[in-house]
Amino acid sequence: MKRTFMKGCEAIAEAAVRSGCRFFAGYPITPQNEIPEYFARRLPEVGGQFVQGESEVASISMVYGAAQTGTRAMTSSSSCGISLKSEGISYCASAHVPIVYANISRGGPGVGTIQPAQQDYFQATKASGNGGFRMMVFAPSTVQEAADMTYAAFDYAQRDRNPVLILADGVLGAIIEPVVLPPMRPDEEVSAMKKAQRSWALVGHDPAKEPRSFIEPGHWSIQEQEQSCKDNAALYDSWEKDAQEESLMIDDAEIVIAAYGISGRIARSAVSLLRKDGVKVGMIRPKTVSPFPEKAFDKLNYKRVKAILDVEMSIPAQMVYDVRLAVKDRCPIETCLRSGGEVIRREEIIASVRALSKA
């Protein structure tokens, strides 16, 4: 397996191209600029199209348009830029248009800071736009995961005809690590994948011979709208099987850290150091934060577990609400939080675990 050194943002873009992405539109915002810059160089090499949109709002609308033709299409942004895209994301979810987008998140709310943070958890998992839709949301903690998850995200988007989000952060976007890139899909396969979408795709149909493509982000009939909501709900329920997580040293754990993305990566290092000192600590790291891996929390032995430590780069904590639903009052839940662009330190997590362990 060939390993290459790659920046997180660039690995996401390259993995997308290898998965068959042939359209990208985006607007500059730190810390995700390397994604559009990479696509601008790379897409012309594979016969794809890159557009620097006049805004985030326009860019997501371009992706909505491109994906309607059956073309694998993507956009990316960061935090406040993602807010602007929420209009188009909601349209994609409503009209069943498969797209992939990445949030290389930063401090917030508002313009916040340009440094890494995890302040967008609710936005990513609960309300990425109006109308109560949901998406599968992947939370990579390494460049390798960012590449693999982006590659797979296009297949999930296609399977469900629904948007998929890669929720990363400013650390993962900028970090350079070895990565084994997923295989490049040949041109024939990419064009066959597009042709396979033709029946519903907005490419032109002869009204005398076949049903037209009619892509509806809403309905005139309230009955149709309600049915559409019910169909969507059934889709979201079907994702329970798709939940992914990493459970680390939980068998004998007395303290269990819950952390995702970059916080999960730092917490893994804390777990390894604490274990050397004999502290019985483990970790559940959701790799999909939507669907949330609730069942992983059912596997804990609550006679032994003294507390869950929710570690996030968000103040106030956000994922902790999903953790509470999963833990179902079976043990206390504490938090260890940083935000504003401050990357959480391993020592802070270690001190929090030790305090809980002694309590």
Binding site: A25, G53, E54, A73, G204
Partner: protein, 248 residues
């Protein structure tokens, strides 16, 4: 006997129009359909409709359609056209959609010279939402959000989209038409045909602005509306070809 006129195959046969009496959208849907048939591109056309009364057409037409987020039709069309160049893509947008909430998307797509066709229906008022002031509402004209009439000191002046886009280098064709008389309907059809021909030839961005009436929200009957259109609207929005690069 030779059949000289028939219903266009681009319009559904079993639909009853829900458009108001005197509304010109129905004429527009028919004209566009006739052009698509004449140019033999009906089977490879994708229509991108805006939000508002313009979007009502999605139910009446027989060919591919998507509704864009309000104002974003030119951005959506950019994505469709760039990813599938063999498809003929047009947007159909009202004045609120194209010139207010979508002003940025419209100007930017025109400035990039996207190879798309834009049909802009300008009746100087918000229709579906009930008569609010539009960017093209005439000075002094009453609207539900400008009950005393459009006052330039407070609201500024009507936007002239053909003239604004004519400041850009990239667009190839900009014409303003109307549909108040049979002669003008024929002129409008010719303009629409030209705008689609440009796209087929890969020439670039074409926009046909059509000044129309909205009797319901103007508070006038259809005949009075035609008079208002001729006397007031066409004075503010002069008809004509603003740009025709293909002619040269």
């Amino acid at each position: 006997m030779e059949k000289v006129y028939g219903r266009t195959a681009a319009i559904q046969k079993d639909m009853v129009s829900s458009l108001c009496p005197g509304c010109m959208h129905s004429t527009m849907f028919k004209l566009i359909g006739e052009v698509l048939e004449k140019l033999d591109i009906l089977s490879r056309t994708a229509s991108v409709f805006g939000i508002g009364c313009c979007g009502l057409g999605m139910q009446y037409i027989t060919y591919d359609n998507v509704t864009a987020p309000h104002g974003r039709a030119c951005a959506v069309a950019t994505g469709v056209k760039r990813s599938t160049p063999e498809t003929i893509v047009y947007t159909y947008q009202g004045d609120g959609d194209l010139a207010s909430i979508g002003l940025g998307e419209t100007i930017s797509a025109a400035n990039r010279g996207e190879n798309i066709t834009v049909i802009f229906v300008n009746n100087g008022i918000y229709g579906m939402t009930g008569g609010q002031m539009a960017p093209t509402t005439l000075v002094g004209m009453k609207a539900s959000t400008a009950p005393g009439g459009r006052n330039p000191k407070e609201h500024g002046y009507p936007l002239h989209m053909c003239e604004i886009l004519n400041q850009l280098t990239a667009p190839v064709y900009l014409e303003r038409c109307t549909c108040n008389t049979p002669a003008n309907v024929i002129k409008t059809r010719k303009a629409i045909e030209k705008a689609f021909q440009n796209q087929i030839q890969g020439a670039g961005f074409s926009m046909v602005e059509v000044v129309t009436s909205c009797p319901t929200n103007w508070g006038l009957d259809p005949i009075e509306s035609l008079k208002f259109l001729e006397e007031k609207m066409l004075t503010e929005f002069p008809l004509g070809v603003y740009r025709d690069r293909q002619e040269a």
